[in-house]
Amino acid sequence: MPLTEAGFKDSDGHPYIPTLLQVGPTIQVMVIPPPVTQVQPDVPQNPSLCHALIDTGAAESCIDVDLAISLGLPQIDVITISGAGGPQSHPVYMCAIVMPALGLTQYGRFAGVRLKAGGQSHQVLLGRTFLNGIIMIYDGIRGQVTLAAPVLPAPPS
């Protein structure tokens, strides 16, 4: 079963609790635009990795709108997001999220928000929908967050 850590380590390789508390569970993902002619996403030879926050407090996922535009992600919907400034209409983009450490590729919908401009260190927020099929263990005592992607048996046909 593929396993990975979503916490932080100090220079000696030990879990570092202060950064986990400040930043939150973070994994590296590839954001891949949907392919034009095939269903399986093209993983580029030298893909750029983004930091993604595993945001268990959110149902929906978000992406930095400037990143979405630079990657040419297709807009597939519109969503109204309510914040301190009242409700605002935001584009919803589609992309494939590749989690190399877990060997997972999953298409998802992402509300486009200004994460970087707002001082957010993550370019992607992964909401609860992305935890489908993943086991997540948050060990606040040791400062470790473990993600596992079990291979589930196929449903009976």
Binding site: V78, G83, Y107
Partner: protein
């Protein structure tokens, strides 16, 4: 981030069929291309793969029937402490 939607036709078609969609496909992810309902799928991933196979990068609408069309700003974005320096 106000702006015009490139999916106006698809969204109008979805709204026009909403009652019927709720009756027959509640909870499913539907794909609209123009005014046409392409299909209803159990997961977003399946809807996305069908849409890509048929229409590439779009435009098309993928929306969950009965799902929310609004959301609160995630707390991780809404509440970012910035401490005064003086």
């Amino acid at each position: 981030m106000e702006g015009t939607s490139p999916l106006q036709e698809e969204i109008e078609a979805f709204e026009n069929m909403k009652d019927e969609l709720l009756r027959h496909h509640n909870g499913k992810f539907v794909v609209f291309k123009g005014k046409e309902l392409i299909g209803a799928f159990d997961t977003f991933d399946n809807a996305a793969r069908e849409a890509i196979q048929r229409f590439g990068n779009g435009p098309y609408l993928i929306r969950q029937v009965g799902g929310s069309t609004g959301m609160p700003l995630p707390a991780s974005v809404a509440y970012r402490p910035v401490y005064a320096t003086h």
